[in-house]
Symmetry: C4
Subunit: 249 residues, 4 copies
C-alpha cells in the first residue's frame, strides 16, 4: 500500500485511516451519500499537531482511501500534500480538488482549537432548519441526550473558549442556524460570526444544507455529531407532533 | 489480550464479552448512540452469581472492550474491579468512571433478582413518553407482540415477584413512566417506587430520557427490550394516526 | 457440527440452513425481532418432499442453529424429529417446543401445496390492518411492484390452485384480513376459510398481529413476502397522506 | 468460477461484477427488493465500449452472480451472450429472460451516450409521483444536495447533450414524470420523449413505479441516483410538512 511522509496507511489510528473508517460509518447512516459532507482531522497526537487531513471534493465518501487526503498546516491554508502527488496508477490520472469545506474546517480549527470537524448533509439537520425556517437558532431542552453535548465557556484569562463540562439535561441546547449561500466557501464569514456570537456552541446548522460539528478530537466530534443528530431527529418528530422542543423548567 | 480475575476475554459467553457484542447491536439499532444508554449483566452462570458487570460512563458503546467493565458484588455497591486497574498502555491513561446508571441497575438486581438490565435512549421510548405526556403509565393491548413480555406476579410465600408465564395478546401491557431528573443517580427513588408499585412490569420508562428493561438473564432482557421497543414504535405510529392503543375486549 | 438423519448442516441449501440464513436477514429487517415470526420450509428438493422444517417456539430468530428445527411429515402433524433429541451439551437442557405457527404452516402446505411459508410481525402489515380496521380485505392496485405477486387460479381439472403467471400492475391485489385470536393455533379455521375464499391470494393478513405468506419454494415465498411488505409499507404511507390505494383504471 | 468471453469474474471492476456489488448495496437500501429494479453497465473501459451488461428479469438482485448477465451490443438490440449459455449445473436449468428494462436502458445509452443506467423502485420516488399526482414534473431548489446533480446542455455543434458542470444549489432541479403502463417495454416511447424534451435531466420518474437514472459511468450514475433519492426523500417530507419544495430566489 502506498505511503509517503504524510500517509501511513498501516496505523489504523492515523487521521487518514480514521477519516476512511468514519466515512464508511457515516455513509451507512445516510449522512454523506451522493458525495455529500466530509470529515477533517487534525493530527493532535502526531509530531506536528498543526497538520490537518481533509477528504477531497466530490468523492464517494464510503470508498475513500487513506492516500486521497489533502494535508494543510495550521493556521495557514497552504496545502502540504495532495493526492495528485500519488502515482498515476493509483489516481488513475484523476485530478483531485480540495473540498469546498476546507476554509470552513480551518475556521473551526483556528477559532476553537478543534481537533476534528465533521460536516454532514443529515436530513434531520436540514428538516430542522426548514421546520424552524424563520428562526436563526435551533433550541431544545429537557431531553437526556443533551448531556452528551459539551458545556463551553469563554475564558477571559486564556482568551479561549474552553470546555468546562457537559450540558445538563435541563439546560437549553442552542445551535445557531446560518443561511446557505451558492458557494460553500462563501459561508466562511457567516460561520465565523456564528462561532463568535455563540461561544457555547460546538456546531452550526446551515439552512437547507446540513451541519458543521467540531470537538477536541475526532472521537469527541463523532459523539457530539451523533448526539446532535439524535436530538435533531427527535426535535423534527416533536415539531411534527405539535410538541414544543423547549419547555420551561 | 488482557485478562485478570474478572475478565476472561476468551469465552464469548462471558458477561464482559456479551456486553460488548450487544452494545454493537444496540448501536446499529440507534439505541445507544452518542455514548447513551448501557448494559449490565450479572454472572448468573459463573462461580459467584452476585458479580455484576457494568459498562463505564461516557464511552462509545459500539467500541467497548471486555476489559473496560466495572465489576460490583451484590447486594452492596462496592466496586471489585475497575478498568483503571488495567495497564496504562491499554487505558491510554484514561480515567474511567462508573456509569451513572449503576445504582439503577443495582435496584433492578436487588428488588427483582434480575440477571441483566438494559438501558436505552430509544427514540420510540422517548416519543411515547412525550405523546402521553400527562400520563404516568404507558398502556397497550391486543397486539400479538405483547406475548413476548413476561407475566409477573408477587408470590406471598417467597415474597418475590416471579414469572408465571407470558402475557396474552389481549392482556394490557402497563409500563410505569417516571419523570426525568437532572442527575441519573437521583432517579433511584422513583425507579424503586415504580418497581414496587408495578409488580407486573419488567421495565420502567423515563420521560424525555429512555427505558430501563430487565430480565431473568441477558437473553430474556434482550428479547423483552426488543419486544417493548417494537410495541413502543407501533404505539407511537398508532397515536399519530389517531388509533387508540388500548381497545376494550 | 452436529448432524443426524434430518439435519445436514454442511449443505447451505438444506432447509434447516436456509431457515437460519433467512431468519438473520428477517431480523435485520425488523420482521422477527423479540422472538416474533417464523419460517418453515418443505424439503421439495430432497428425497422426501413431504418433510417440513419448522423453527421452534420462542427462540431468538437471528441466533437459530440448523439442529434446532422440528421436522414434520405432511399431510399429518406427527413430529419426526425435535431438537430435544440433540445432545444435552448442545441444547443446554433447554426444552424446545414446536412453534404455535405449526398448524398454520401445515394448512398452507396441505391446501396450497406450498414449498415454504413465512410468518412475520412486520409493522407495515400490522399498521395496514389497523388503518383499515373495519375492512376484511387489503387492496392496492396500479403500483409496479404488484407484478412480483403471483396470479393464482383454481383449476377445476386438477382441483388445485395453480400459478398462471404474475399479476399485472393494473390488477388489484387483494389480501384477506382475519382477526387475531388469543392462541395462535386457534387461527387455523379462519386461516383455512380465508385460503378457500381467496384462491387468488398467496398471503393472509392477521389483524394486530402480522402476515402469513407462502410460495412454491422458499425463494418465491421470500420474494412474495418482500414485495408484499413493500406494498404494505407504501399503502400505509399513502393512507396517511390521504391517497387512495385503489384507483379506477 | 465460470468464465467465458464476456464474463471475467476475477476483475472486481468488470461490469458484471460491479452490477453484483451494487445490487447488494441497493438491496440493503430497499431500492430493489422483491426482484424489483435493475442495473446496467456499458463496458466503457473495455475493448468494445459498445457492450452493455444487463441483469436478467425476475431475479433476486442481492443474489446475482456475474455469469447471470445478458450482454447486448449497442446501438442494436442483438443479445451477444445470455446466462442460458452457461453450463446447466450452474443455471440449474433455469431459463433466464432478458430484463423488461432492456429497451429502456438502451434508449438511455443511445440517446445520451450514457455509461450506466440504474432503475429502482425507491419508495421515495414512488411517493413523490403520488404526492404530485397531477404534475408531469418534479421540482426542487435551494437544497445543497442539488449540487451533486450534473448540469446538462444540448450542444448544437456536436448535436449531443453534454455535461457542462454541476447544478448550483439555487438552480431548480426538474425531473420529468411519465405515467406507468402495463408492460415495462411499452414505456420506451414516453421515456424517449421525456429524454428529448428535458435535455437537462439525467433521470426520469415513472409514476407509481420508480426512477430511471443514468450517468457517464457507473460511479456517476450511482452518485446521481443517491443524490436524487436523498432529494426525493426530503421532498416527500417537506410536502407532508407543508413546506414548498420550490422557493423563489
Amino acid at each position: 500500500m502506498y505511503t509517503n511522509e504524510y500517509v501511513d496507511a498501516k496505523d489504523p489510528s492515523h487521521p487518514a485511516n480514521l477519516i476512511c473508517e468514519l466515512c464508511r460509518l457515516f455513509y451507512d447512516k445516510d449522512w454523506v451519500t451522493g458525495t455529500g459532507g466530509g470529515i477533517s482531522i487534525r493530527d493532535t497526537e502526531g509530531e506536528n499537531p498543526n497538520l490537518v487531513y481533509i477528504a477531497p471534493s466530490g468523492i464517494q465518501k464510503e470508498k475513500l482511501q487513506p492516500w486521497e487526503m489533502f494535508v494543510v498546516e495550521l493556521p495557514g491554508t497552504k496545502i502540504l500534500n495532495t493526492p495528485n502527488n500519488c502515482p498515476k496508477e493509483l489516481t488513475k490520472s484523476y485530478k483531485y480538488k480540495p473540498s469546498a469545506c476546507t476554509p470552513l474546517f480551518l475556521s473551526c480549527y483556528n477559532m476553537r482549537d478543534a481537533g476534528a470537524c465533521i460536516h454532514t448533509h443529515s436530513q434531520n439537520a436540514v428538516m430542522a432548519t426548514l421546520l424552524w425556517e424563520e428562526s436563526i437558532e435551533f433550541k431544545i431542552n429537557n431531553i437526556e441526550q443533551i448531556k452528551a453535548i459539551p458545556k463551553l465557556e469563554y475564558n477571559k484569562t486564556t482568551q479561549k473558549v474552553e470546555k468546562i463540562g457537559n450540558l445538563e439535561n435541563y439546560d437549553t441546547l442552542v445551535l445557531p442556524i446560518i443561511d446557505n449561500v451558492p458557494h460553500e466557501e462563501d459561508l466562511v464569514d457567516d460561520l465565523e460570526n456564528a462561532i463568535l456570537k455563540y461561544p457555547g456552541a460546538t456546531a452550526v446548522l446551515v439552512r437547507r444544507h446540513g451541519i458543521y460539528v467540531w470537538g477536541e478530537n475526532i472521537w469527541k466530534a463523532k459523539v457530539y455529531n451523533e448526539a446532535l443528530d439524535y436530538l435533531l431527529e427527535l426535535a423534527v418528530k416533536m415539531k411534527l407532533a405539535g410538541i414544543p422542543t423547549v419547555k420551561n423548567n
